[in-house]
Point group: C2
Chain length 326, copies 2
Amino acid sequence: MDPTVGELSEGRILRRILERLGESNALVGPGDDAAVIAAADGRVVATVDTLVHGPDFRLAWSSAFDLGYKAAAVNLADVAAMGATPTALLVALAMPDATRLSFVTGIADGLRAACRELAPGCRVEGGDLTVSDTLTIAVTALGALAGRAPVLRSGAEPGDLVAVAGDLGRAARGLGILFERFTDAEGHPVPVDESLLDHAELADLAAQLRPSPPVWLGPEAADAGATAMMDVSDGLVLDASRMAAASDVTIALESAVLGPDIASALAGGEDHALLATFPADRPLPHGFVRVGVVLARGQDAVLVDGRPHDRRGGWDPYRDWDSGTG
Amino acid sequence: MDPTVGELSEGRILRRILERLGESNALVGPGDDAAVIAAADGRVVATVDTLVHGPDFRLAWSSAFDLGYKAAAVNLADVAAMGATPTALLVALAMPDATRLSFVTGIADGLRAACRELAPGCRVEGGDLTVSDTLTIAVTALGALAGRAPVLRSGAEPGDLVAVAGDLGRAARGLGILFERFTDAEGHPVPVDESLLDHAELADLAAQLRPSPPVWLGPEAADAGATAMMDVSDGLVLDASRMAAASDVTIALESAVLGPDIASALAGGEDHALLATFPADRPLPHGFVRVGVVLARGQDAVLVDGRPHDRRGGWDPYRDWDSGTG
């Protein structure tokens, strides 16, 4: 028996979701008009990001668990990028009537697993269920700075080192594997046969479907004196250019440290690595790798090995989605 | 010139939205990986609610301004129902490529107007834009308790008075006007001709399209000793039965005070009035009207004029949506 959500009441679906989410950590958890979350230092970090069926995922490729995991992970990374520790998620889930209950509980399992692995102490503490023709998962993440100043995009100073924690290019390679090897003759997605993939390809695929950004390194970077930080969601060059613009500096990247697949590392999106700048006079925190230096603002926002880099990276949903779903 | 969002970059759309939202009130406002919002007493109230094209609104009936206004208002009411004052909204907006820029800025104008009129000091401080086949607006609202205990659904005690602040039944009558008078022969929505409506009907329509719950009375109710509170989103009887279940009491409603249209007042959803219980030994706070008393738990969660009331009210998207859009 695996009923569709259209066959169940909102209350019953909600109860089945709550069973999967575990104990609340909040002052007031799910079940009232709103949750109440501790914000011990008198501030709360808050961000929202949405996964939409079609532009953001294909159901032939992503399991329900994957979707819950990714929806949580991308938001946890945004909290980390401020130098904060995630404290709670709120999840707005809009689903077609024909969605199976097992799919919904799979999303809940993925949300919980991402919290457990990437941000222990953080839980889903509230949310909203509605019906929609388009499966949509909007996750709000809250976080605590524990007395730290938030680390903004705008604080990079000439002379700082530029460093990254987490993968670069893997998620984009994973997406390439999906489009190149798991589509039919018309280009429609077909299920992934993992037995066709080697170890490195499986890791790339996992980075795309279930990204695991180093959330715990966000607060560590802040404590180590990071002057600017952001998560790399749209590719290193594009996101570095945003940081450079916000800080009015030029970021000079060094490709030698980016591994063998430099193109993916520079332009590939969705890795959710942490990009940060640090004063040059002290060691980088463990987990961060130097990828460049900050220069006084020149003609270009970003240089790669001393030259402008004009290939636009990343993913712009308004330019790049081809209207496919699957 | 009114381009579609598909013709613009995410960055340009975002700039046009931010222009309409006014100055940030946050410690860190829009533009970084996350916002940072003050939470002076060490706690933050947080809730999310979503409007989806089809089940929640029809574009023939709701303007972009209406949608922004309603998406904000329903969430502001949830914050108020905890006894808190709204401090910030985060808005996840998923839109078809063909959406006009003027529609997006209309949503922004509606969000801003709702904050200005219902919760001064609250602003949109963050959000997310993505493309989707289904127009979807998920709003997260944050709020501050200013040292108050949150008012839960579970605190009603036998002997308390039951009271409501705000309209009951108006939004349901407004929806009735739309379905009865502004649909074509096939039942598809057609634009509203306001010249066909009298003053009372226009007010009912406004309550449906742009609800204005008494958000400022939430903290006042808490200060006046409210023992339980919630917002009436699914109809008085259904929501009172939820409060009764959470508090393990029976709520006895008195229909004489509900005005001439008792059926709509008991069963109509989407008014977002505040339902609260108060100790009987002190005056009700200004703006609240007595609608009943709390009894020790009996056989029925809710009584109306001493009798069980079995007509299910409210709106369950999983049971009630007919898949229409328009």
